[in-house]
Amino acid sequence: MWAMVYGMPSTRAAGQFEAKLPMSTLLEVNELRTRFHTPEGIVYAVNGVSFQVDEGETLAVVGESGCGKSVSMLSILQLIPIPPGEIAGGTALYGSRDLLKMTEAEMMTIRGKEIAMIFQDPMTSLNPVLTIGHQITESLRVHTSLDRKAAEQKAAELLDTVGIPDAAHRLGDYPHQFSGGMRQRVMIAMALACGPSLLIADEPTTALDVTIQAQIVELVTKIRNEERMAVIWITHDLGVVAGIADRVNVMYAGFIVETAKVFSLYENPLHPYTNALIGALPRVDRRRDKRLKSISGAPPSLLVEPHGCPFAPRCDHVIERCRIETPQLLPVGEAHSVACWVNIHSKGPR
């Protein structure tokens, strides 16, 4: 329903949200902190982020550019460049193992096999000089003992799954022979090769036009339902979020400021930032002559060690405490947590 309001076709099966069996936790991230040591000073990119992903669940991570969405996910897979990057603290429990403490050799058995990732720009994330057959079978060659023939067969099946016509004949083609949407499908096929239990999609639809976006959203949702795979979907498009997510993390300046089930978040946003974001969205059911509300000011510099609530300088509801003490993410309702000292509905302290 909310997806329709924000101009995205909903891809949910009816009744998807009702009466779900309790699921086990797949990934649990606690107090993740990532910094970058740059010539200008320390960039505090991720400041104590905690969240979890259940099996088969879709978690959306939203926030504006540079708020730490991608960096937190890359940190979990130890893909940030070290140095200048540094994972300064926290744990990322995958099963009983902490991903942040794994050696590079152990990580290689996780990446692509257990946790796969797709990236924003399908134009640059495929290697221009290798055939897509080579690139899809790469993951199979690394993680399985399939021989070349079997791997190619599997690659053709994967291409077929992601909806590329005449898959078997396209394995020898190069990325430039595919359109943007098709390349993103190839990326998805690559990610699916080893049947990962978690797919991290880093703004996979940002570089695509709207009709292709809808197709990719639909495709990922379909595959998730078929493969029982959990998905973390990083985006700044709240319309897409409404279309696919079960739960949403809202990030701001390296903090998670609010986390909630998707309906709960759209109906009852509790953090002033979330509220402002949703207020800034164009809606199909709103009068067209009304101007969209924008959030005044700019996000804080990440070069300053965070002090107090990061949103305080731009917040309409700011109180004295906001500037002194950083609010913790605390539960306020069923599966709904917010990091704010103010109850924006009663206008009083929480």
């Binding site: 897979l77 893909l79 290689m108 058995t109 996780i110 990446r111 692509g112 096999k113 796969a116 990732m117 797709i118 990236f119 924003q120 720009d121 640059t124 994330s125 495929l126 290697n127 221009p128 000089v129 290798l130 790469e138 993951s139 690394v142 993680h143 430039h176 022979q177 990326m187 690559m190």
Partner: protein, 318 residues
């Protein structure tokens, strides 16, 4: 009018894959651009003829004949029996340029192979890993570059010369100095290539496809050799091509100084050794091998230039 209608009909009935010309592969594109470089095509033709001369000529004259000396015939001017004349101990210069050509060209090829392997390894490791590995390898590269190449070649040739016994490959005997020359030319010429490869790696490793490959679980080795290296083939091919010309020249230098490949194995370079005493009295001694070296180096350089233009993705049109 009818014609236009007919043409329209034709267009309308074209099948989907006839509408578009099939995309040209990189090889086709490169060849198409290479062909427009007239001097490069000429260079390629001359180079092919020279290879034919050195390797095809061997079918008509035997190596024994090339090494056969008869002092009675020494310093004979070009004549019907000895088209290019004879040298100071009466060997046939035509036959020697044929066998010497083989050796000179092979020295070029093998020395460049060594150069390329070294250059790629050093450049790739330095560029990909950065940090102290980069500093260490690049300081070493710069140190090597700071020593004059010719000096390095002479010292190494003197040091290693004569330490390797004669080799017999495919029924032919080669002077051990041949191996020494190939190795030292290779080991003194990889530095420029290493710098080029490092620069390519520095920029290519920032590409998103490298991150994507890492996220797939690909090892560093796989990323370096399967993902990044194929992306810098163009500058490597160009440098290697020009490297062949340089290797042939280097061989000529040190052989001219008498430190290169030892007779009786002929090379274009060691045929010049001693010819300086007869610059005026017997110009055919230096003219023919000199001309062959000149033609080879010149045509390889033109081919390299053509390849550089053809392989440069920023080159103007297709």
């Amino acid at each position: 009018m009818d014609n236009i209608l007919e043409a329209q009909k034709k267009i309308a009935t074209l099948a989907a894959d006839e509408l578009e010309t099939p995309p040209l592969s990189l090889k086709q594109l490169t060849w198409r651009r290479f062909k427009r470089h007239k001097m490069a095509v000429a260079g390629l033709v001359v180079l092919a003829l020279l290879i034919l001369y050195a390797f095809g000529g061997a079918l008509f004259v035997s190596e024994q004949y090339a090494n056969y000396n008869d002092t009675r015939l020494s310093l004979g001017a070009p004549s019907a029996t000895h088209l290019f004349g004879t040298d100071s101990i009466g060997r046939d210069i035509l036959a020697r340029t044929i066998y010497g050509g083989q050796i000179s060209l092979l020295i070029g090829l093998f020395a460049v192979t060594i150069e390329t392997v070294f250059g790629i390894l050093v450049g790739a490791l330095a560029g990909y890993y950065g940090g102290w590995i980069d500093s260490l390898l690049m300081r070493f590269t710069e140190a090597m570059l700071n020593i004059p190449e010719i000096f390095l070649l002479i010292v190494m040739a003197k040091f290693f010369g004569g330490k390797i016994p004669e080799l017999t490959i495919l029924g032919r005997v080669y002077s051990g100095s041949l191996v020494v020359i190939i190795v030292i030319i290779g080991l003194t010429s990889w530095m420029y290539l290493a710098r080029i490869v490092r620069a390519e790696f520095l920029s290519l490793k920032e590409n998103e496809f490298v991150l994507a490959a890492r996220a797939t679980g690909t090892s560093d080795k796989g990323i370096i050799f399967q993902h990044i290296l194929p992306n810098c083939v163009a500058p490597i091919v160009v440098t290697a091509t020009l490297g062949v010309a340089n290797a042939i020249l280097s061989e000529a230098y040190i052989s001219f100084l008498g430190l290169g490949v030892q007779p009786p194995t002929a090379t274009w370079g060691n045929m010049l050794d001693g010819a300086n005493q007869y610059i005026e009295s017997a110009p055919w001694l230096w003219f023919f091998p000199g001309l062959l070296i000149l033609l080879t180096v010149l045509s390889i350089n033109y081919v390299g230039d053509g390849l550089r233009d053809a392989l440069d993705p920023r080159g103007r049109a297709i």
